[in-house]
């Protein structure tokens, strides 16, 4: 395929002397102007680029920059030295200079106004910056080191194999114990509470390999089976992450008393760009006044009133409290949400701890941030196409038809329709009707 395309390229270059040509996936470019003097007739020297295809085998290695182990080591040393320098600069003790201190120092020395936090200057340990990669999998003779290399996902399969080995071991052990009569049912499931299995992304990161969903499901099933069999142990724990307990407690507002001796409590809430402040009285009729207007008139839409109803309905206190609130900003829905949040917070002061916990669990206190982030793919990367360098007519024609080649188009014009026809001639099976994509 590569060879034929090279010859194709050569022949094409002869025949299409007078026509402009496009550059094709330029990695290495060669001038071939002088070669064509053998062709008779008027010669107009045009700029001609021809891609030279490499025929080396380890193209993979060239394409992605591998960070060799030495390179990473060097980076780590540099990082550590740099850290000490930075500590010196900031007048702190180099021995006790933590990553947070580094972040603060960098933010101070290189203030950046960029909105995207990930684009700001950062100084982190090389492990976190350079992506994890696999070291070369084969030796000089081309023979792979790992016995499961040819499965494609060697780490994954070896992990599964090891796990299954452990399951069999445990079963054997159990059988032996049962034969001797020493087997006892132990409580094994206690250490599972408060932790969860790795998610697929985390597992991929650990194995430095891409997995499919079925692979991941199989892995989880195998792990569960291992757990059922016997004690968890370190091996399984390494695949579990603790679920962080929500330790943020909702601050409870103090109960105040107004002039008449009525108990009330105040709090605020925000939703989108609406701000609300609610004053909830302990004893009342269920009247709600917003900005001095009755809530039925202020929120003619049923949906908004349902939002207001929720905190009271959840605590079964409909009609037991009077509320006065002020709200500003935002739209109708946002104001309703803000008032609801404020009321829920204010109600905490009249309610038991347990009920506060329930409210927290149903997300009564969470800000519902509207995710206004723009699509992260807004700036489409202009990296060159990640496939082979080989001259692939059909791909190029497709690319030019989509117009993508225009972005990367360097000197010459677009791939003319005639070369598409030519490819059609040569291949006989490419049926493409590419219009002349000249501009």
């Amino acid at each position: 395929m590569a060879a034929s395309c090279v010859s194709c390229g050569a022949v094409v270059s002869q025949r299409l002397l007078l026509r402009p040509r496009v550059s094709l996936a330029p990695r290495q470019v060669l001038w071939r102007a002088a070669e064509l003097q053998s062709v008779p007739g008027p010669q107009i020297l045009r700029l001609k680029h021809v891609t030279v295809v490499t025929t080396k085998k380890n193209v993979k290695a060239l394409r992605r920059e591998t960070y060799t182990v030495d390179f990473i080591k060097k980076q780590i040393e540099e990082f550590n030295i740099g850290k000490r320098h930075l500590a010196n600069m900031m007048g702190e003790d180099p021995e006790t200079f933590t990553q947070e201190d580094i972040d603060r120092a960098i933010a101070y020395l290189f203030p950046s106004g960029l909105f995207e936090k990930r684009a700001r200057p950062v100084m982190k340990h090389p492990e976190q910056i350079f992506p994890k990669q696999k070291a070369t999998q084969w030796g000089e003779d081309g023979r792979p080191f790992h016995y499961l290399f040819y499965t494609g996902k060697q780490s994954y399969y070896s992990l599964m194999h090891d796990t299954y080995g452990k399951i069999l071991d445990i079963e054997k052990h159990k059988n032996q114990l049962q034969a001797k009569g020493l087997f006892s049912e132990k409580d094994k499931t206690t250490d599972l509470i408060g932790s969860r299995w790795l998610i697929k992304e985390e597992l991929e990161e650990m194995l430095v390999e891409k997995l499919s969903d079925q692979d991941y499901a199989q892995f989880v099933r195998l792990m569960e089976r291992l757990l059922q069999g016997g004690a968890a142990g370190e091996f399984v724990q390494s695949f579990r992450r603790s679920v962080t307990v929500q330790s943020e407690k909702q601050p409870i507002e103090p109960v105040q008393h107004d002039a008449q001796g009525m108990a009330f409590s105040t709090s605020e809430g925000r939703r989108k760009s609406a701000k609300a402040e609610a004053v909830v009285y302990e004893h009342g009729n269920g009247r709600i006044k917003i900005n001095g207007i009755d809530y039925l008139l202020y929120f003619p839409v049923l949906q908004d009133r349902e939002q207001l109803m929720f905190p009271f309905h959840f605590l079964d206190r409909l009609g037991k409290h009077d509320v006065t609130c002020t709200v500003s900003g935002g739209g109708r829905s946002a104001q309703a949400g803000a008032i609801r949040l404020a009321m829920a917070r204010a109600l905490c002061s009249f309610v038991t701890e347990e009920e506060v916990e329930w409210m927290r669990q149903v997300n009564s206190f969470a800000h519902i941030w509207n995710d206004v982030s723009r699509s992260s793919t807004a700036m489409h990367s202009n990296l060159p196409h990640k496939s082979s360098f080989r001259l692939d007519c059909s791909r190029l024609i497709r690319a030019s038809a989509n117009g993508r080649s225009r972005a990367r188009r360097e000197p010459a014009g677009s791939l003319p329709g005639r070369s598409a026809e030519y490819c059609q001639e040569r291949r006989g099976r490419v049926h493409l009707r590419v219009a002349n994509t000249h501009q």
Partner: protein, 397 residues
């Protein structure tokens, strides 16, 4: 209950004090005793419905309960007066039930004690949107119909100031405009309501329709109405004649006249009608409105004028406006001065309970939680006791 009355009194005080008659409001009786008499061991229907179907006998003990209006009567008395949602409910339940409420009871009391020798008293029912002004008016009209009064019912004055396709220049007065369609429709309904009076009342003047047609003095009002219905061009003038004659003759004592206007703030508001040259028409340039304004002036006796203010159909008025000053404007307020304002408010807990019971009895609320206290509390919260909102909440999707 007490709160409702005090609120009413405070509202009354809030309005311009010097201008209107302030009649004392009755102190509420204690209802518990009456309730016990009524309810005790009867079926649940007794809580929400009462068997007393004659509005004349409605009293405070019936407050909060629904009474049945015979469907036959509905067709005669209300050919056009019911709010559309209520008409749908009537059709669904196959019966017409109206709740007896305090504002209506108050008005009934005043009407029962009217002195027909004095000029007609004007009563204005006002309140927030959806509180039941129109249905209270219907209650009054039913009462008056039962008492054999002549009912002059304009179901919605707003309909006369907007969306009129054909405006003719009035033949009677070149400055004004006729609305043939609206007038003829109204005349038809008027005829349905007041058949029996039309032959008894005789006009006292000769009216000339055009060069060829005229109507003699002494002919019955029925003929005027017929003329208006058949000759649509003259319908507006026919209406004008009817109004004038009724006003003149009600003082004679042959009949009692009830003028019931819904949405009276339309008479003094803006219109959306335009002339051919796109210039706007003021309300007084419409013949119908002009005549109606004369009708609601209290320079006649022998009847009463009951009016409702309505923001719902009004033009160019903010949604939250409900006070007479806001809706009538200066001109309207001065024209209607002095009047007796009657506030119609949201349901109090007893009325709310009664309404829910009524729906439950008719198997209208199908949610399993509707019977429970929590369900009722939810409904109360979401509707805030507003009858209109409650009805919309309970309606089908």
């Amino acid at each position: 209950m007490l709160k409702g009355v005090t609120r009413l009194v405070s509202r009354v005080h809030k309005l311009d004090p010097g201008h209107f008659l302030r009649l004392g409001t009755q102190a509420p009786q204690s209802l518990a005793a009456h309730l016990d008499n009524q309810v005790s061991f009867e079926s649940p229907r007794a809580i929400s419905c009462t068997s007393e179907n004659d509005p004349a006998k409605h009293e405070e003990k019936h407050e909060g309960q629904h009474y049945n209006l015979p469907l036959q009567d509905m067709k005669t008395i209300f050919p056009h007066g019911l709010p559309p949602r209520y008409a749908m409910q009537m059709k669904t339940f196959n019966e017409a039930c109206l709740m007896v409420r305090k504002p209506a009871l108050e008005l009934l009391h005043y009407l029962k004690n009217t002195n027909f020798a004095h000029p007609a008293v004007r009563y204005v029912l006002y309140g927030e949107k959806g509180t039941g002004k129109t249905l209270s008016l219907c209650h009054i009209i039913h009462f008056c119909a039962k008492q054999d009064w002549l009912i002059l019912h304009i179901p919605d004055a707003h309909l006369w100031v907007k969306d009129c396709r054909d405006l003719l220049q009035s033949s009677y007065n070149k400055q004004r405009f006729d609305q043939p369609l609206e007038a003829s429709v109204w005349l038809k309904n008027f005829k349905t309501t007041n058949e029996r009076f039309l032959n008894q009342i005789k006009i006292q003047e000769k009216y000339v329709w055009n060069k060829r047609e005229s109507i003699e003095k002494g002919s019955s009002l029925g003929e005027v109405v017929e003329q208006g219905i058949t000759r649509v061009r003259n319908a507006t003038d026919a209406v004008g004649i009817v109004l004038k004659e009724l006003k003149r003759q009600s003082s004679l004592g042959i009949f009692h006249l009830l003028v019931a206007v819904d949405g009276v703030n339309a008479l003094w508001g803006r219109t959306t009608l335009k002339r051919e040259d796109k210039s706007p028409i003021a309300a007084e340039e419409l013949a119908l409105i002009h005549n109606l304004r004369k009708m609601v002036k209290n320079d006649w006796n022998g009847g009463a004028i009951v009016m409702t203010l309505s923001q719902t159909g009004s033009l160019f008025k903010p949604r939250k406006a409900y006070l007479p000053q806001e809706l009538l404007g200066k001109e309207g307020f001065d024209a209607l001065d002095p009047f007796i304002p009657i506030l119609v408010g949201n349901y109090n807990p007893k009325e709310f309970e009664s309404c829910i019971q009524y729906y439950l009895e008719n198997s209208w609320l199908q949610h399993e939680k509707a019977h429970t206290e929590e369900g009722k509390k939810e409904l109360l919260f979401l509707s805030n006791g507003n009858p209109g909102q409650l009805e919309r909440l309970c309606a089908y999707l």
